[in-house]
């Protein structure tokens, strides 16, 4: 992590490279796709079904990562997303079990997600606690709550409209999970890149005080980022549960790290001020594709971990040349 305020002077010749680096994740994604197509294309990797599979399994991480891009661009972190996803999934499931229709359940889940976002935002922006700690504590707290509420039992969801809308359904032959992640990614891209709010997020993360002096209400902006993140986590939770037709307290464990990895892989700076949703989307797909391809290749778990760990490092090293 190299602070933005202190980047070492780059040699001038590195300038065009910097441009290339912005596209590293796309290039690498293409390379990985190509590699798998050649090696295991005939083993089902290239089937439409499998490509849809990749999109489907990455949907949850994508949705979380899109909102995480806002949080990180604003100079914060949200580690509570995984347990919030589980909370929302459980809320949704329990509300439906109680006999309410799915719209009510969806609303309730969103409220749960927003409530977590609200708490995070409160502690970070109004009390001034580092977000790493707040959201780490929140992650534990919510996970405990998830366990408590359900006595760790899974909650089954049998509402088929819900399951098909949020999970395993299709729309015109396209998996609804893919549609969700596309919609969220496009929305996120437009908001971050073309709206005043997006600019304020980036300015806040780039230099909070300068943004303040320019009239940006940085507290509100950060608060809003946490709300977004909470809502996205809730949506991700519903997608999980719709897909599994079940909600369970341990959904989304480790999703926070995966999402952050997708964000950083996509080219967003962990120190804030620079963010790209398209990169995040590609980063998430890249991770999903690697996981899927390695399974189809028949690698065992230990090999999968070694290869995918190696690829994450190399994907970025690839487009870099040693800085002077």
């Amino acid at each position: 992590m190299q602070s933005k305020a202190t980047a070492a002077p780059r040699p001038p010749s590195a300038l065009p490279k910097v441009q290339l680096q912005n596209y590293v994740v796309y290039i690498f994604f293409a390379v990985v796709l190509l590699f798998f197509s050649v090696t295991i294309g005939d083993k089902g990797f290239l089937s439409v079904m499998n490509l849809f599979n990749i999109a489907r399994t990455t949907a949850m991480i994508t949705v979380i990562a899109v909102a995480m891009t806002f949080v990180i661009s604003a100079g914060e972190l949200d580690l509570s997303v995984g347990s919030t996803a589980a909370l929302a999934a459980l809320t949704c499931g329990l509300v439906m079990q109680a006999g309410f229709g799915w719209p009510v359940a969806v609303l309730a889940a969103l409220v749960a997600g927003l409530a977590v976002g609200c708490l995070n935002g409160f502690f970070v922006t109004l009390i001034g606690i580092p977000s790493f700690l707040v959201t780490l504590g929140m992650m534990q707290f919510i996970r405990g709550l998830d366990m408590r509420v359900t006595y760790t039992n899974p909650v089954s969801i049998s509402n088929q409209s819900f399951n098909s809308l949020f999970g395993s359904g299709n729309l015109f032959g396209v998996p609804s999970l893919l549609i969700w992640s596309l919609v969220i990614a496009v929305l996120g891209h437009v908001v971050l890149k073309y709206t005043g709010f997006g600019r304020e997020i980036l300015a806040t993360g780039g230099n909070r005080m300068a943004a303040e002096y320019s009239g940006v209400k940085t507290r509100r902006v950060k608060f809003a980022a946490f709300l977004l993140s909470g809502a996205a986590a809730a949506l991700a939770g519903m997608l999980y549960s719709g897909m599994m037709q079940t909600a369970r307290f341990n959904f989304g464990e480790g999703a926070e790290l995966m999402a952050i990895a997708a964000v950083i892989l996509g080219g967003t700076s962990l120190f804030g001020g620079r963010g790209t949703i398209l990169g995040t989307f590609a980063g998430s797909l890249l991770i999903g594709t690697i996981n899927n391809g390695l399974i189809i290749m028949g690698l065992d778990v230990s090999e999968q971990m070694m290869v995918s760990g190696g690829i994450i490092i190399l994907a970025v090293a690839f487009g870099k040349k040693p800085t002077a």
Binding site: P154, S158, S168, F249, S302
Partner: protein, 361 residues
């Protein structure tokens, strides 16, 4: 000629011999870790006099679990707690190591401070946590192990008993259920928990042994691991993409099994041509089975009974009685036709309305 898990060792001759038996209902397949023959849990009993003595003793117990979050753990806890309450034994601590050996040691250390009279616990690993158990046992706490003992502790001396499912049999029932559902023919896959874990290793071994011994026309064409049950879907997807003609899969626990259900659904497979068997009889897979879903068979443990057996053994140990070193709870093969009855057996209540309704259709 498939690639087995890293920890895999081929079944013993004795296991292969038993795997050939048609009816396993009266056989204990697994031996204890030291080769002790299994003692059926049903044969454990306390006299009224013994119960009164336990009640008078005002004993305390600590429960240290390796994980929580499935019906196996929660039913077992219910069995334990109900039995302890009935016998007037007070639960003073309950911990969950969440699959982390080091956390389990910290948990045991904290428990040791409370000096409970009894500890019921499932060691996550027979080696790593050994000294922590030994310390508790040396301090005078009676120890009852769930599923496996730790190294360096001797039955009767350092601990009372191990209470376990018959895990090899559990794996064999899975093979039976899958063969029954697929007609004993075609290509099938096995999903396994990739980490070296005593009981799941045995089930996998039992499954493979049974298929080899009894179902020559059913081919296990691939075995794929996962180290996180939530990843079951991803793994199942990969299997279905690569082997589109699979007729069934052994999908380990219920969460990976439900992942396989989702994967099969999106792959356009139907319950008619694709069968899933698994080894946790929980609400989710039961419902799927009732609804004529992909779940065709469950090789169920009896967690509640196991909890009760553990409590009984614990009570006997508290009284200083000698207990059998290896107590076995037999598995139960659940298919759609015996679902209602099995549910009652395992959960002690009638089938929930939703399932009953689905079953009726």
């Amino acid at each position: 000629d498939i690639e087995h898990p890293l920890w895999y060792t081929a079944p013993s001759a004795k296991t292969m011999e038993l795997a050939k038996k048609d009816d396993l209902s009266n056989t204990v397949v697994s031996d204890g870790q030291r080769g002790e023959p299994g003692f059926p849990a049903a044969n454990l009993a306390l006299t009224d006099e013994q119960i009164a003595k336990v009640k008078a003793g005002e004993f305390t117990v600590a429960i240290s679990m390796g994980w929580l979050g499935d019906d196996w753990a929660s039913q077992q806890l219910i069995g334990l707690k109900e039995s302890f309450e009935a016998m007037g034994i007070k639960v003073v601590a309950e911990t969950n190591a969440n699959w982390d050996d080091a956390k389990q040691i910290a948990d045991l250390d904290a428990i040791s401070v409370l000096k409970p009279d009894l500890l019921v616990s499932i060691p996550l690993n027979g080696k790593t946590t050994a000294s922590a158990y030994k310390k508790i046992s040396d301090a005078g706490t009676k120890v009852v192990f769930i599923d496996q003992a730790v190294e360096g502790m001797d039955p009767g001396k350092d601990y009372a008993s191990i209470i376990s499912s018959d895990n090899l049999a559990l794996g064999m029932y899975l093979a039976d259920a899958l063969a029954e559902a697929t007609g004993g023919k075609g290509d099938v896959a096995a999903m396994y928990y990739a980490n070296d874990f005593y009981v799941t290793n045995l089930r996998y071994e039992g499954f493979i042994a049974r298929v080899e011994a009894k179902y020559p026309d059913m081919h296990v064409v691939v075995a794929a691991g996962h180290n996180d049950p939530n990843k079951g879907q991803e793994v199942a997807q990969g299997l279905l993409a690569r082997y589109p003609t699979l007729s069934g899969v052994y999908a380990s626990w219920s969460i990976p099994a439900m992942g396989a259900v989702t994967a099969a659904t999106v792959a356009g497979r139907t319950p008619a041509d694709f069968k899933i068997v698994n080894e946790n009889f929980d609400q989710i897979v039961a419902l799927n089975m009732a609804q004529n879903g992909f779940i065709a068979g469950i090789s169920s443990q009896r967690p509640y009974d196991q909890g009760v057996a553990e409590a009984k053994v614990g009570a006997l140990a508290l009284l200083g009685e000698q207990t059998p070193p290896y107590v076995v709870v037999p598995p139960l093969k659940v298919v759609r036709s015996n679902l209602a009855e099995s549910y009652k057996t395992i959960y002690r209540v009638d089938l929930p309305a939703e399932m009953a309704e689905a079953l009726a259709n």
